[in-house]
């Protein structure tokens, strides 16, 4: 037995990592003289205890699903797309152009156009690093990082010089009303009861869920997914099989960039309803942690995105109601990212040892099947 069972790999490892992150966070909170148990209760009730909390949690989660899927699909092709941030910025630009310059009759059509625009712009921003990687061997990590800075600068320039609405703020004007997406409040309030009041969660969440399903089908059920995974596992074998590395690098990065760009349907079109600076707010980087924690599986990405949504919303509540400073929230989030992402192996290796130790007696019943108890 060289490895542990699958369930331990998918559930136990992230869970233990999470608990470790929580323990250290608790120690830090103790150290600044606050009560960690009260802080946890506040985070849970603030993020998950009401439809209001869920409205924010799911809004953040929607962003992270898109960027998490983006990183995950690239991981399957063994590409490390660090550029989700920049691709999401460009996606916002695509959404703004589609919403501002095309007269949409209804949001149902507008969301299709905006999704396409967001994906197209995000993909376009990923295609240049992909091409440089495939044809020139420029490392995708380096180029996508650079493209993040370029995207931010480009948006800055456009918002100040080209797209700025009248006024002081570097932002576009409000999108026309026909492009405004229904929020959860619009969708889930019946008669007297108003749910999700004033929260930014909107119909884009369902687009994210659809994206999870679509990516799952793509990776596990289609020829392209088969080729992407094959290339990711072994480039030499992929060449032998006649799978073009150039094609796989380009296609997987286009899909990846497209997904990152699609995040803009949620934050730009669904929430802000105009394009502002810093709209992405680091969600592109959170996507890396989400993909790592979710083991690059769309369902895992979904769950990890919800967790990070909870951390974001719970953290905001903490900052609002306690004297735990805003920076401490960032520390907690960083600890979770560090333990679930970067320090994954630290937890996995000892757990594996534990499993191997417990599996030792197994060969005996294997050798004599009649000695096996029960069934």
């Amino acid at each position: 037995m060289e490895r542990m069972p699958k369930w331990a790999d998918v559930i136990l490892v992230p869970l233990v990592s999470l608990i470790l992150a929580a323990i250290i966070s608790a120690l830090v909170i103790l150290a600044i003289g606050e009560n960690p148990w009260a802080a946890l209760k506040l985070m849970v009730s603030g993020a998950l205890g009401s439809s209001y909390g869920w409205g924010y949690t799911l809004y953040y989660a929607t962003n992270f699903i898109f960027t998490g899927l983006a990183v995950a699909i690239a991981f399957h092709a063994r590409m490390f797309n660090i550029g989700g941030e920049g691709q999401a910025i460009l996606g916002g630009l695509g959404v703004a152009i589609v919403c501002l310059y095309i007269p949409w009759p209804h949001w149902t059509l507008a969301i299709l156009g905006a999704t396409a625009g967001a994906a197209l712009f995000g993909a376009a921003w990923a295609v240049i690093p992909a091409f440089l990687q495939a044809k020139r061997g420029s490392h995708i990590v380096i180029t996508t990082i650079m493209f993040n800075f370029m995207a931010a600068a480009l948006l800055n320039y456009l918002l100040v010089n080209q797209l700025k609405a009248p006024g002081m703020e570097p932002a576009t004007s409000k999108f026309p009303e026909a492009t405004n997406l229904p929020s959860f409040q619009d969708m889930f309030s019946f008669g007297e009861t108003t749910l999700f009041r004033g929260t930014p969660a909107n119909v884009a969440f369902f687009v994210a869920v659809l994206a999870c399903i679509a990516i799952w089908v793509l990776i596990w059920k289609t020829r392209l997914g088969y080729e992407i995974r094959a290339f990711g596992h072994s480039e030499s074998a992929a060449k032998y099989a006649g799978i073009s590395p150039t094609k796989i690098i380009m296609v997987s990065m286009i899909i990846s960039g497209g997904l990152a760009g699609m995040m803009a349907v949620n934050n730009v079109m669904g929430e802000a309803e105009r394009l502002v600076l810093n709209a992405v707010e680091g969600a592109g980087f959170i996507g890396i942690a989400v993909a790592l924690m979710g083991r690059s599986h769309p369902f895992g990405v979904f769950l990890a995105a919800i967790l990070f949504g909870f951390l974001y919303q719970g953290g905001a509540e903490l900052a609002l109601w306690t004297s735990i400073p805003r920076e401490m929230i960032v520390v907690i989030q960083a600890l979770v990212i560090m333990f679930t992402g970067a320090l994954d192996q630290m937890v996995r290796a000892p757990l594996e040892k534990v499993f191997i130790a417990f599996n030792k007696p197994q060969p005996e019943p294997q050798a004599k099947p009649q000695a096996k108890m029960g069934g």
Binding site: M1, E2, V217, K221, T222, R223, Y226, E227, R229, A230, H233, S234, S236, A237, K239, Y240, A241, G242, I243, S244, I356, N359, K360, Q362, P363, Q366, A367
Partner: protein
């Protein structure tokens, strides 16, 4: 005599990996100053046993005695301290370091390199004189041949004061002449009182050099005998557990039309090195052309060009039609469409995706075939799984479970998966590289029979192997490649290992005399 303690004694060594009992109650005694062979099929537990001895694995049970003293070997440092040196099948050398730097790596004295290097230079000189192990200390590893690299590995062990030397499949990468040189060195080491354990699957080597031999089968030590008292057929039977045909039975070939014609093929790699220099040959339907050569003389590149993942200039005709060598139709998919199937030399790097299930691997390279698609978008995974189960049964893949990852199969069964995939395509031309590398004797017999059967169906087969025996027993014609050039063709009946060995070293018969 009996009061001399054995150099190594193992008692009751057992090791399990989950449900797999890799070593079971192994006992072995190796007397000092002898060469002891350990022979067994792949997966018989030889490597596990040696890994335990070298501290990579911890035995579940059992004791290890070195020169009569009980020792614990928790890691390789402890193994080295106990006087054990290991020469791995795949050398563990830093390619861009010199011989000297490699020798001291991990055994430096102090923070500054200069004193260590000076000391190593002196000791290397002494070792070279003592054992005839001549190596240029300042040569960079990547510039010297594999035979020399192996000497460096041996020197590394000796530099660390090893009295017991374990060699794992040491001749796999050597020419027959280099293997002979290695054996002379081993004999010299034995004379000087070193103890040597030789792990191999080649019966001939066991017979030629060892004093005693242990046979392993399925994790157990089935016999330990004096080499002088045994014979290759007996050892083979002990290894496999049944009688084995060591020669391949086959009818004379009935060559038909030309299926493959290669004319003046040239390859220049990225560094500007000419890998193939004007290679020409042909293969007819119903015959096996064997290409003999030491690894690294261009035969891999030849297979890669034919398989569609290496560019070349020249002409290749398949069934009389030219195929594209550099353009958009020069990829592996186009080659497969032309009826070329390819069992690559390295199944783990190329032929299989080790993390893919058997069923995913069974369509690898043919995943565009319409019969594996459910519709334009989705693959028909159910059909692939069923197809895989059938093929696994026909090719006797064990266990016949489509839901196991490729890496969970033994080498022989991995190879059978690749063979099943490529042969069942009913190709016109089969390229097959190192068909039995790392494959156990029982499976070798099966694989050879399959290759002959495919030939008898009238298929053209291009066989590349570094095992001369295999080339001699399977081929209908033999071409020898050296340094990217064809040295000539021979009929198996008109030649022998000596002549082929010389040609593989770039010499013609006249020159050698």
């Amino acid at each position: 005599m009996t009061d001399i303690a054995p150099a190594i004694e193992l008692k009751g060594i057992s090791k399990a990996f989950g449900p797999v009992q890799a070593n079971k109650d192994i006992a072995i005694r190796v007397m000092p100053g002898t060469i002891h062979g350990i022979i067994g099929e792949n997966g018989a537990g030889k490597s596990t046993l040696m890994s335990i001895l070298y501290g990579f694995y911890k035995a579940d049970k059992g004791e290890i005695f070195i020169s009569g003293r009980k020792v614990q070997i928790p890691d390789s440092q402890a193994a080295i301290a106990a006087g054990i040196g290991m020469v791995f099948q795949h050398f563990k050398l830093v390619e861009n370091f010199t011989v000297l730097e490699n020798v001291i790596l991990g055994a430096e004295d102090g923070a500054m390199l200069r004193p260590s290097l000076a000391k190593a230079r002196r000791e290397l000189k002494a070792l070279a004189e003592e054992y005839g192990l001549n190596v240029e200390p300042d040569a960079v590893i990547e510039d010297i041949g594999v035979g020399m690299q192996q000497r460096v590995e041996i020197l590394k062990a000796l530099y660390r004061q090893a009295d017991i030397l374990i060699l794992d499949e040491p001749t796999g990468v050597l020419t027959p002449a280099e293997a002979d040189q290695l054996f002379r060195i081993l004999e010299r080491l034995r004379e000087e009182g070193k103890t040597i354990i030789l792990i191999t699957h080649k019966l001939r080597e066991i017979m030629e050099i060892t004093d005693t031999v242990s046979v392993m089968r399925r994790g157990e030590m089935t016999a330990t005998v004096k080499t002088a008292n045994t014979s290759p057929p007996e050892l083979a039977e002990l290894m496999v557990g049944r009688k084995v045909l060591l020669r391949v039975d086959k009818e004379p070939a009935k060559p038909g039309a030309k299926v493959l014609e290669v004319r003046d093929l040239n390859i220049t790699d990225d560094k500007g090195v000419h890998r193939l220099k004007g290679v020409s040959f042909e293969v007819r339907a119903g015959e096996i052309l064997g290409i003999a050569g030491v690894a690294g003389n261009g035969q891999s590149e030849l297979l890669e060009v034919l398989g569609g993942y290496e560019k070349a200039t020249g002409e290749i005709l398949v069934n009389g039609e030219k195929i594209d060598l550099t353009g958009s139709k020069s990829d592996g998919q186009s080659r497969r469409a032309r009826g070329i199937a390819h069992v690559p030399e390295d199944r783990q790097r190329e032929g299989l995706i080790m993390d893919y299930f058997a069923w995913e691997n069974m369509v690898f390279g043919y995943h565009h075939d319409p019969k594996y698609q459910r519709n334009r978008l989705l693959m028909d995974n159910a059909a692939i799984k069923k197809d895989t189960a059938d093929k696994m049964e026909r090719f006797d893949v064990r266990p016949p479970d489509p839901f196991l990852q490729a890496k969970s199969f033994s080498g022989g069964n991995q190879q059978k998966i690749v063979l099943a995939r490529e042969m069942e395509r009913d190709p016109d031309l089969l390229l097959i590289g190192q068909p039995t590398r790392g494959v156990d004797i029982g499976a070798i017999e099966f694989i050879h029979q399959q290759i002959i059967a495919l030939r008898d169906q009238g298929k053209a087969i291009l066989l590349v192997s570094v095992e001369l025996e295999e080339i001699l027993s399977l081929s209908d014609r033999i071409a020898v490649i050296f340094d990217g050039k064809m040295m000539g063709e021979r009929l198996p009946a008109d030649t022998d290992e000596n002549e082929l060995g010389l040609m593989m070293a770039g010499m013609t018969k006249g020159e050698a005399a």
